[in-house]
Homo-oligomer: 223 residues x 2
Amino acid sequence: MGAVKTKRMPRAVREQQMLDAAVRIFGRRGYRAASMDEIAELAGVSKPLVYLYLNSKDDLFSACIRREAAALTAAVRAGARLGLPADRQLWEGLRAFFTHTARHPDGWAVLHLQARTHGEPFAAETAAMRTEIVTFVQQLIAEAARAAACAGEAEGGPGRLPEHEAAGLAEALVGAAESLAAWANTTPGVTARQAATTLMNFAWAGLGNLMEGRPWTPPAPGA
Amino acid sequence: MGAVKTKRMPRAVREQQMLDAAVRIFGRRGYRAASMDEIAELAGVSKPLVYLYLNSKDDLFSACIRREAAALTAAVRAGARLGLPADRQLWEGLRAFFTHTARHPDGWAVLHLQARTHGEPFAAETAAMRTEIVTFVQQLIAEAARAAACAGEAEGGPGRLPEHEAAGLAEALVGAAESLAAWANTTPGVTARQAATTLMNFAWAGLGNLMEGRPWTPPAPGA
């Protein structure tokens, strides 16, 4: 720990600084092109210290994925508060997602572009996070469908959405959100709110309704 | 060309065999883990011949991406025939997409999982294909919106879908399709037709309508 003592900074703080630098470099250069020298320099530490704390480039990348995945998942869960009507819950969850990915573009690039390469040691980390988000969305869709079915049954309406169908819809919704986040982050003038509104139009009102001029209408800003 | 003469097979045929083998190995192992030895063995040729024809592992991978991207794009364009009503056009395009990705799972894995890693030499190949498909979908959406607006104007209905909105919806639709194709290829019992139907429900009828029991209904099989 001799190298650390000189600046009297707790290890946890130093590690977060290294991860901040690593996410920036991995997100912008890609895994292969990212250099440990550049990461160490940006973090303001020596390269041996990075290896001492994070062990290897692979382990450093895995640590970045874990941290960014946990932050994104927490943001979405916090956004999609329970107890709201289904469309508001989806809207709030999407806003939280697009706000987070807009604020952390390098973290999003690490998760979306860099980490999914199949067969790499860290692909499992991203797959686990994605599965968690898809399962969460699937539960929201299934709950909303149950609530709609209960309301419908009182009026002699339709039955429940099959579980299998909710799984496919959750995959579609998450895929659409991933694609839109990457687009929003690389298209000047597209805000998180606009991306969330586009996806609500797409997912909730449906393209068919939208083209007939019946879009889903977001609540007023700040509501 | 001495090594080729022995079996009297045209170079173009040999190259396709090498690409077939490479797509299989890259799709299943990932770029890094794929070995040129294994690719040569599966293609039934010597490793030096693979290098003679395709130059390097990077170039071989780029050639795989170009071939698979061209085949997928052609399949989608052929499926989404002009002159159909908008919902039928979308349905036929989606069916063509999911049928192609189901028949060529290794090719799809190369395009979707292996090739998008940002900063790698071949990322530009996939990005170009994806841009082409998104632009095509955006045109379909914009045309359908124009047709709906014209019909609506006759009845004093709504105006056109803004171009910017069509761009976002195309990104959402393509992202949803990518996600569902990966899901369908790894989930036993999910057919191309089911994946296309799920996405039509999601994209056309909208989740809101779906939960009220008003799904978009696909035409009868074979129709």
